[in-house]
């Protein structure tokens, strides 16, 4: 892998946000916010030349300090990483603009809001590093950076409810990363390398590998909030400040999903079984139905949106049973792999845009009315027309109605499901969409209902509403370049690769 073209842009994607985060710490409130915003926009801008570089040259790499693996650390930017980095850049950029205006309006006592910028830039550096890492231990460090910054951001408001939710989140995150690290130790012990490419070639099936697969998968599933390990997500995401909830739901949980996807397709091919893929799929299907049902039962807008995240993450897990092929099926003949991978990538993007928009809108409603109980939604169409529209547009994408990004993701998922003849997943996909339609239409019905008298509406800066609307519309616009994005991704593995399994090979992989 060291013979691939090198590019300094790869290192800058991590270095620039870290540099701005450090510089911002030298300033007080106002200067820190300015440096922070500048750093955010700079990191967003940097993603475009990086993606163009990949489009021109294919996968590009950077050797840290000039040391080659197995001793040194290699950062590699392949098309899959580029798409995740691009999504993070666009969604993160808009959320940064929202945060800029939000913290001007709602300057919290004690200046805690000034801590947002360094923490968010460190988090961004961690996420970019995660997408670029090709080394299991490096990935551990990046998930810790991401995890600790995410918890610190989640407790930024300093209220008791958010602190308790944050501590629960932190404990889940520590337990998850310890599970992951245990797997890393076992893999190092049996192969002597941690480079993903080298591991994929060197790993042999056996009890140690199977155990590593189980603890790493479970650890990452805790961090991705996969059913039944999702318990920490709704309170933590609902109690955080609006820009933070958007970041956590749209970007942070996608990071560990990305690792899971890479590990399953690039490292653990030898010890995966068809049943392991099916089990993850069951967890995903139950998450879709349970999460959507719970969302319907909530009476606070932010809790509805947070439970809906659990459901939407479930769709991502339903890609695994399609990628892990049944015994005897060759990867070359499995023509549903491309739709399945497209579904995963588009679900990540569509959910990123739509959910960020939803949380930002919830924040606008809290500013305007002081709370986010269901009654706050009444007469939203007259009070905050732009926000009502953002919620409607983002909601349509979450349900998966054409021509949204959410529709494209779910359509591709269904296509993959029927082409692979695993029709038993289809009811969960459709059922999830119906339940999602339930809570989105419930919100919209309230938005058109007359308001209770005597509720004053505080003015909300237009800029905040524009940010939420831009993200909602973004969840539709991502469909336009779909051909180009898929072509871009298809050029390089792991996109559209499947894991072949053998009836006699390995054991059942997961609990």
């Amino acid at each position: 892998m060291t013979d691939l073209p090198a590019s300094p842009l790869v290192a800058l994607l991590v270095g620039v946000p870290i540099a701005f985060a450090l510089v911002s710490l030298f300033f007080r409130t106002e200067g820190r916010a300015r440096t922070g915003l500048l750093g955010s926009l700079g990191t967003t801008a940097l993603a475009f030349p990086a993606i163009l570089e990949v489009a021109r040259k294919g996968t590009v790499i950077h050797l840290l300090g000039g040391w080659a693996p197995p001793l040194g650390i290699l950062l590699r930017l392949d098309p899959l990483a580029a798409v995740f980095i691009g999504m993070t850049a666009l969604v993160g950029g808009v959320i940064s603009l929202y945060a800029w205006w939000y913290f001007r309006k709602e300057a919290t006592a004690g200046g805690t809001s000034a801590l947002f910028w360094p923490l968010w830039l460190f988090l961004w550096a961690g996420l970019n590093g995660l997408f670029l890492s090709n080394d299991l231990f490096n990935l551990f460090v990046t998930i810790e950076v991401v995890g600790i910054c995410a918890v610190a951001l989640a407790v930024l408001s300093g209220k008791a409810a958010s602190l308790i939710a944050g501590l629960r989140y932190l404990l889940a995150a520590i337990a998850g990363s310890m599970g992951y690290l245990f797997g890393v130790a076992l893999l190092y012990g049996s192969t002597g390398t941690l480079d993903i490419t080298l591991l994929g070639a060197a790993l042999t099936p056996g009890p140690a590998t199977t155990f590593a697969l189980i603890v790493m998968t479970l650890g990452l599933m805790i961090k991705t909030a996969c059913f039944p390990l999702h318990f920490w997500l709704p309170p933590a995401h609902a109690a955080a400040l609006p820009p933070v909830s958007a970041l956590l739901s749209a970007l942070v949980v996608k990071g560990t999903f990305y690792i899971l996807l890479r590990l399953w397709t690039e490292v653990f091919g030898v010890s995966l079984t068809f049943a392991a893929g099916q089990l993850i799929g069951v967890a995903g299907a139950v998450a879709v139905l349970w999460g959507s049902w719970q969302a319907l039962m909530q009476d606070r807008l932010k809790l509805i949106v947070a439970h809906s995240s659990v459901a939407q993450l479930g769709y991502l897990l339903m890609v695994f049973p399609l990628i892990v092929l049944a015994p005897g099926v060759a990867a070359e003949s499995a023509n549903w792999l491309s739709p399945a991978w497209t579904a995963a990538v588009y679900q990540v993007m569509a959910h990123g845009f739509a959910k960020a928009s939803f949380f930002l809108s919830a924040g606008i409603i809290v500013i305007a009315l002081g709370h986010d109980r269901k009654s706050s939604l009444r007469d939203l169409v007259a009070r905050l027309p732009m926000t009502a529209m953002a919620i409607a547009v983002a909601g349509v994408s979450l349900i998966g109605l054409p021509p949204s990004g959410g529709f494209f993701a779910k359509w591709m998922l269904l296509k993959g499901i029927f082409m692979s003849e695993q029709w038993w997943w289809a009811p969960a996909v459709l059922g999830g969409s119906f339940l999602t339609a339930g809570y989105v239409f419930m919100i919209l019905r309230l938005a058109f209902a007359p308001a209770e008298a005597g509720q004053p509406v505080r003015p909300v800066p237009k800029a905040l509403q524009v940010c939420a609307l831009v993200l909602a519309i973004g969840s539709f616009l991502i469909v336009l370049p779909a051909d180009h994005i898929i072509q871009f991704l298809e050029s390089t593995a792991p996109f559209a690769t499947g894991v072949e399994t053998y009836p006699e090979g390995g054991r059942h992989g997961n609990d």
């Binding site: 231990f137 602190l163 308790i164 501590l167 932190l170 995150a173 310890m178 690290l181 890393v184 002597g192």
Partner: protein, 101 residues
């Protein structure tokens, strides 16, 4: 039974004890200690792999990784303790509230 098997088994047991600890208590402090115990198991496992393949010298890479891991774990625990202390100051609570769902 070979030495590395004893270490591996012991680390798996320690890890499991820590994991069980997280789920069997509602006290903040006990949960934080439980995550430390999980970490102890993982680090023991990692360090024991340094004596691999009957090398004449110990493999330094696991040590480097365990030191990094310990630093990360200490910071995470410090953060968790700070959160727990702040919650205790604000509300007087030392345990997680019982789930209502």
């Amino acid at each position: 039974m070979e030495t590395y098997q004893i270490y591996s088994l012991a680390s798996a047991v320690i890890f499991a004890v820590g994991l069980a600890g997280i789920f069997t208590t509602r006290l903040f402090f006990k949960k934080i200690i439980a995550t430390k115990i999980m970490g102890g198991g993982v680090f023991l496992c990692f360090v024991s792999f340094a004596e691999r393949d009957a090398l004449a010298f110990a493999d330094p890479v696991p040590h480097a990784m365990v030191i990094t891991g310990i630093v990360v774990a200490v910071s995470a625990a410090a953060f968790a303790l700070a959160l727990a202390r702040r919650i205790q100051q604000l509300t007087g609570q030392e345990t997680f509230p019982v789930e209502e769902e």
